[in-house]
Symmetry: D2
Subunit: 314 residues, 4 copies
């Protein structure tokens, strides 16, 4: 059951064009670029040989960030070069880098900034995280397309409509759980989704789903993990009498609330705060934390390593 | 076994006078005052009748802070009046207030600022919290006497000596656990201690001790409770890949790390932080959090209610 | 020149009803109340006599917050009583309180929570503060009506339309400056506006306007005042190489950026931040700071005293 | 006039050895290293050629941080290599790097971690910044020697004595200003001082002094610059009614309070804070900010460029 009639007109030839945000390509003053994210066992000569690989092909290195995890002997690099310097096809560059990296055991991915990422937002009834994402998208803080919003409730259809965003209503209950998730997956595939954001989507995704989209699903947990894992964190924070409340954005993994943490923040509270006020204060923390995590992901600044994340600065 | 020879000269007629800090009474510009901390079931007329009690006796109310916990129907008040206005003896005032409060079910305590509180600091090997307390004491931020520092190790004897503080070395092992705690208790009694601060004292106090000193023992836990309860919180924070680390000051209760929280704070960290750097950053959070909690207690700004604390602003 | 055709249908019988936000009165769980804001020279017996005034009339005091400014000998009180306890007419209560307060030199104002405040938002081209106010209004964090948005540009007409908010376009240039301000004033009067929020309105209001609406115009300055007063604060912050940027919400006064400060906050930045990134980070600070200030005003938690503000906690 | 008799015993053969801190070399688990700080006009191939320079000489690159200032076309690098890999003399390495860097217009400096830096602390009467530096030094957070503390007052002689630090008393008045500064300079030379920390030293240094020690004098200003430049910032912050107070650590330059900012932080305050309380809160901010700045300098993480600083992360 999909309510999407009102948005059909914006989906032209497989690509969603939202008239609310015509100016994006003008304001992004950054030149198109290629970003490599690399990790491998640490050893001598990595900076030199990797940067030389790009220099020899005539690339201007716009930025090159590294991190040597001395405790675990691992090396991480994010290297950003100008796309206009590309002397070959993209395929050829990738093949050459693949050959180059094999002896060093490089695990890597490559991202081209002119290929706009496609983000799906999953929501339930709570609007603040959705609105925050839509506003930042509209203000060009998030460099992506948002071809669809999916929800198991109708509450936020109007919010999506305010931003002329396609809204798909996929209700779920005990009986149709598997089918509903299949419908979600089908939509994500059909729209070539790169990133799924759980913006207070109050359903648990199956292990299969999470595995298929590993490193591509960002969740916001409304507590400062690992404190208050599980349900009703604000109520429990109130009862415990904490003096700060927080929020955590993390990649979804099979173990609920155990995925690699991308971003966290807190806000000071006091004994006068009722549970409701904790929730309001928490909403501000949640939206900021989720947006920062999504932005870091879209800007290809995150490398996941085990349960931890390396977040390069912007 | 007590190493206290070097301090004997400062203990004159039962009262400890530390020459390092002669100027306290001059710099505390606040006039002597009486503070009442009150809690009771909420009902009409409480502010009016309590403030009138003091007005009728000629008191100037220097400050009067209240909090109505509407969810639990409880009322809390901190009222501060000028000591110089006291028209009777202290005993008489207390008797009158007791008679006055009985019908309303007031639970209350009274504190006279000219009766300087006596604080004992318990430490093990880590110096940063101890130093912070001693410096703030020296700079007159903490209005108390510190007649003794107790430790199960000798490491910090020198730190105590730097500030000419009496240092008692009471080593502990499996065999003498009860005896050592008895020695501590004896010392606390002997020195008329009002407040015990566990400034990274790495021993667990017995339930009996904690019960006897209920609301009078402040502990610093080096994590943002309820996250990372128990041992080695920084190591576990590192492994979990959190993006902030914190500290929690709370009253000690029988259930370890479950006591009413007085103060918490956090500091941002990132993937580059080694466990050692987490510890360094954590030290700064710990000392600030512990000092704020101790200051709030000494200034009689805390009322404990169940597992929560009401902290009136300074 | 007013573009308001699209909103006419929502203005029914002089009162604006926005269908996007039907549920407000349900979710505000607080009982209707009366709030008195009081200031006067400090003296003995104020708490007692004022609280007794309300007690004698049968009021339940929901909260009573005070602050004695000992340096300047001034006393401030915010007292909140249940409206349902009102034994007389409002007028009668006010007359009685006026008689009561005269001998003590009370300066006071009274506010009834069932009289919803009416807020106008003035904007230019920047959307983030406007959106933030509209979203919080929609999520019932701001207890007010917003009968009109006024702008000297057309850019944000669509944003207003998304929330079905009346949008008045009043362009301004050197020649029509006085006329345009007159049009604004007429609109504010016509709509019985209580509070004017300058949500990045990039025009200077005349001294007459500011005087007429003293204590009723809140401005957001995009810097941590008194640093970077005047124009282009982010550019100047970039050049000065500061390590934090901030925002300040204050009441508008004749001297630009010199009005009483209501709220401030900052965010950490570093050398890698371009002017554009400073602006993005700044936007998040601005919207939070402005919203907190507006909320404090609407909740009647602010008393202005000279160049300073007393902000009672919520 | 120098009171240093009590410390003579610790100065052995020109090198100051403080017995309070014997364990430094054990706890610093980092291997000895060489750090190059480099800046030059940005151009293609910089990372590649510089890193190759070190790779060809057999160095293991422990970390390599860069920043391209695209707005000003400048490039900055901090590269850290293992000292044990040094295949030649230090002099030879420097000559080779000098020849290598000339064509690219590199401005650079080199630092060897086994050459412990020597820091002088200048103070007046206020103790909190001095104590903080001494404690961090004692806890091995600051990797330096502190061969002398200089003051124009005697107040802090005892604090220095607590840490067995040489204390030089050099009083100053209108008449002897030049002579006193000459005495300071002589002491700094005599003790081969690398870094001068003005830890609330309330005297203005002459332009000549500041020029001679350019980039080597760190000052703490007790306000969030550029707000409240000049004297009595807390008093003026109180009068302006700000809601946060801050501190700024910066390199000293001829124009007072205009030097390149290294670190800033703020703390929230409210209307209840008296000037005295602002000062207490400010002290905590000052000590944290100054210590972070000193640590960044000692770890060679700062490059000054015009009025701005590039601060590499630790």
């Amino acid at each position: 059951m999909c309510h999407k009639d009102h948005i059909r007109s914006f989906v032209i030839s497989g690509k969603f064009r939202n008239p609310l945000r015509i100016e994006r390509y003008d304001v992004t003053m950054n030149k198109p670029c290629i970003i490599f994210l690399i990790q491998c066992p640490d050893r001598k000569g990595l900076v030199s040989s990797i940067s030389t690989f790009f220099y020899e092909r005539g690339f201007n290195i716009l930025s090159c960030q590294q991190y040597s995890d001395l405790e675990n002997g691992m090396y991480f690099m994010r290297i950003k070069v100008a796309l206009e310097d590309l002397p070959t096809t993209r395929r050829q560059l990738e093949d050459e880098f693949s050959d180059f990296g094999k002896p060093m055991g490089l695990i890597w991915s490559v991202h081209y900034s002119d290929r706009v990422q496609r983000m799906a937002v999953l929501v339930s009834k709570t609007s603040h995280c959705l609105y925050d994402l839509l506003l930042r998208w509209k203000e060009n803080e998030l460099d992506c397309d948002i071809p669809l919003i999916i929800s198991n409730h109708l509450v936020l259809e109007e919010a999506a409509g305010q931003f002329r965003m396609p809204f798909y209503y996929l209700p779920v209950d005990q009986a149709n759980r598997t089918d509903q998730e299949d419908s979600i997956r089908k939509l994500l595939k059909q729209h070539h989704i790169d990133l799924v954001v759980l913006a207070r989507y109050m359903q648990i995704l199956s292990p299969d789903f999470v595995k298929e989209y590993a490193g591509k699903v960002i969740n916001i947990h409304h507590a400062f993990l690992p404190a208050f894992q599980g349900g009703n964190p604000y109520g429990r924070a109130y009862e415990r009498g904490v003096k700060m409340i927080g929020a955590t954005a993390h990649y979804a993994t099979e173990d609920l609330d155990e995925g690699p943490i991308i971003e966290q923040d807190v806000e000071r509270v006091n004994h006068e705060c009722t549970s409701d006020q904790l929730k309001q204060i928490g909403r501000d923390v949640e939206r900021i934390v989720l947006s920062r995590a999504v932005q870091a992901h879209l800007e290809r600044r995150i490398i996941v390593t085990g349960r931890r994340t390396v977040i390069f600065s912007s």
